[in-house]
C-alpha cells in the first residue's frame, strides 16, 4: 500500500466520511449514507446544563467514535484503536502506522487545523480525519468535509490531536487491521435501523432521543422570558449551526439518514424503507423551515414575524413526526 493509492472523497460528515474512505481503501465499496446508517449515526440530544462557551449543547448525531466502531463490528472488520498519555508517543505511533502503509483515522480539534477556513475553526474536539502519508515532515490529510486532501505541519497536528477541553481526544487514532472476504450488508442495515430506533425512542431521560426535541421546544418557548435578547439570539444561532453549518449534510443529518434508508430500500427491495426515506426527507424540510424562521427571529430581535412560541411549535411538529416514524420503523419485520 502506498499513499498514492488512498483516494480522498469529500463527504458531508467527518466520521461517516472517514469510515467510508477507510473502508473503500480496503476494497469495501460503501457509501457515506450506508456507513452513517449502519453505524446508527442519527440521534438528538439537548443538554441545558452542559454549556459550551455559555451556550447549552445540542446535538443531532450520536457521540463521536460510535459510528466507526459500530460499522466495523457489524461488517466483521477488525480494527485497532489507541489513545495516548503523551503526544510524542501518539505521533510515533502515527508515523509507524504510516510507514507500514496504513491510512490512519484520528480524532482532533478543528481549531488547530490551518487548512480549514477560519470561519469554521472553533474549539470543537470531535472532528475526524485521516492521515495517509507524509511529504517531507508534513502530513497528508484526507479530511472528508473538504474537497481536496490537505497538508498539515506536525506542530499543528499535535495540537489538534492533543487538544484540551471536552471531550479530550488524547491522540485517539484508529486503523483497519483486516476485512472479511464477503460482507453481509442486509444484516448490518437491520442492526443499524434497530439501534437508531432504540436510541431515538428508549432513553428514559428527557435530554436524549426524541424526547429531547420536545425538551428543546419547551426551552425555546421560555427564551424571551428567561434570556436577554442577545443571549436568546445566540442560543438560537447555536441550534441552527449544529443543524446546518457543516458536517451534517443538511437538516441535522436527517437527509443523510433518508439517503441511507433509500439505498437500503433499493438494495433489499423493500418499499417500506423507501417510504420511510420519503417521509424523513419531508421531516428534514420541516427542520430547515424551523432553521429559516429561527434565523429571521435572530436577525430582527424585536420582530413578531415569528414568535418564540411559533418556533417552539415548528420544532414540536418535527418531534411528533419523527416519533411516529421511528415507532413504525421499530415494528418492521426482518
Amino acid at each position: 500500500m502506498s499513499e498514492h493509492e488512498f483516494q480522498h472523497y469529500q463527504h458531508a460528515h467527518c466520521e461517516s466520511g472517514v469510515t467510508a474512505n477507510l473502508l473503500r481503501h480496503e476494497g469495501i465499496d460503501i457509501s457515506e449514507p450506508m456507513a452513517f446508517g449502519i453505524g446508527a449515526g442519527l440521534f438528538f440530544g439537548h443538554l441545558p446544563f452542559l454549556k459550551i462557551a455559555g451556550i447549552p449543547g445540542t446535538t443531532y448525531r450520536i457521540w463521536p467514535g460510535a459510528i466507526f466502531k459500530r460499522v466495523a463490528q457489524r461488517l466483521d472488520i477488525k480494527i485497532q484503536t489507541q489513545r495516548f498519555s503523551y503526544p510524542a508517543k501518539g505521533m510515533k505511533a502515527l508515523d509507524d502506522a504510516l510507514a507500514a502503509g496504513k491510512p490512519t483515522g484520528m480524532l482532533g480539534s478543528v481549531f488547530y487545523l490551518p487548512y480549514l477556513p477560519e470561519a469554521f475553526r472553533f474549539h470543537f474536539n470531535a472532528h475526524n480525519y485521516v492521515a495517509y502519508g507524509k511529504r517531507g515532515d508534513q502530513y497528508l490529510i484526507s479530511d472528508p468535509i473538504i474537497e481536496e486532501p490537505a497538508l498539515i505541519a506536525p506542530a499543528d497536528l499535535v495540537k489538534s490531536r492533543f487538544a484540551k477541553g471536552t471531550p479530550e481526544p488524547k491522540g485517539f487514532m484508529y486503523n483497519i487491521i483486516s476485512t472479511p472476504k464477503t460482507i453481509n450488508l442486509a444484516k448490518a442495515i437491520e442492526q443499524g435501523i434497530k439501534q437508531t430506533c432504540f436510541f431515538m425512542l428508549s432513553p428514559p431521560v428527557p435530554w436524549f432521543g426524541n424526547k429531547a426535541i420536545f425538551l428543546l421546544a419547551d426551552k425555546i418557548k421560555d427564551y424571551p422570558k428567561k434570556l436577554e435578547p442577545r443571549k436568546a439570539a445566540l442560543f438560537l444561532g447555536n441550534i441552527i449551526r449544529m443543524q446546518e453549518e457543516i458536517g451534517t449534510g443538511g437538516a441535522g443529518f436527517r437527509y443523510l439518514f433518508a439517503a441511507f434508508l433509500q439505498e437500503a430500500g433499493t438494495l433489499l427491495r423493500r418499499d417500506d424503507l423507501l417510504q420511510f426515506s420519503t417521509r424523513l426527507t419531508k421531516i428534514g424540510d420541516d427542520w430547515r423551515n424551523f432553521a429559516y424562521h429561527a434565523a429571521r427571529q435572530m436577525k430582527d430581535r424585536k420582530s413578531d414575524l415569528v414568535s418564540y412560541d411559533d418556533l417552539s411549535d415548528l420544532l414540536k411538529k418535527c418531534g411528533q413526526q419523527e416519533l411516529e416514524l421511528f415507532r413504525e420503523m421499530k415494528k418492521m419485520k426482518w
Partner: protein, 141 residues
C-alpha cells in the same frame, strides 16, 4: 430537499467562501445524491452572529487592556476563542490562578517561563504578549 433547492449563499467572511460543503438532496429521478453547497443564508447568519459576538467582546477587552485595567492575557484568551476553564486546562493551572494573571500588577511580575507558556498556547511570541498594542501604535505612526 430537492437538488435545485440547495442554497448557494457564500459565507463571505473569515475565508468561509473557500469551502463548498457536501449536502444530500433528492434529484429529479427521486434518488438522493451528494451536492456541493456554498452555504445558506440562515446558517451564514448564525455563524456570523457567533463571530460578531466574539469580536465585540474582544474589542471591549482590548480597550480595557489599553486602559491598564486588564493584562493582555484575557485579550489573547478571547482571541484564541478560549474561556478561563479551557485556558486553565492548557496552562495546567487552577482557574483562580489564571484570573489573578488578568491583573496588570500580577502580570508584570510573572516569570519568563510562565509568559513563554502563555505565548506558546496563544501561538504568538512572548514579546508580542508583553508589549501589548505596540505594533498597533507603530502602524498608526
Amino acid at each position: 430537499m430537492n437538488v435545485e433547492e440547495v442554497p448557494q449563499d457564500p459565507k463571505n467572511f473569515k475565508e468561509g467562501e473557500k469551502l463548498k460543503k457536501l449536502m444530500y438532496a433528492v434529484g429529479k429521478d427521486g434518488k438522493y445524491t451528494g451536492i456541493n453547497s456554498a452555504g445558506w443564508e440562515a446558517e451564514n447568519f448564525a455563524t456570523k452572529q457567533a463571530w460578531d459576538d466574539i469580536d465585540e467582546e474582544l474589542a471591549r477587552i482590548e480597550a480595557q487592556v489599553l486602559a491598564g485595567e486588564l493584562s493582555p492575557i484575557p485579550y489573547y484568551m478571547q482571541k484564541s476563542l478560549m474561556d478561563i476553564a479551557l485556558l486553565a486546562k492548557y496552562m495546567e493551572k487552577w482557574e483562580w490562578q489564571i484570573k489573578r494573571h488578568f491583573k496588570p500588577s500580577v502580570f508584570k511580575e510573572l516569570e519568563p517561563a510562565m509568559l513563554d507558556e502563555y505565548a506558546r498556547i496563544f501561538n504568538i511570541t512572548t514579546d508580542k504578549l508583553t508589549h501589548f498594542g505596540q505594533d498597533k501604535k507603530e502602524n498608526h505612526q
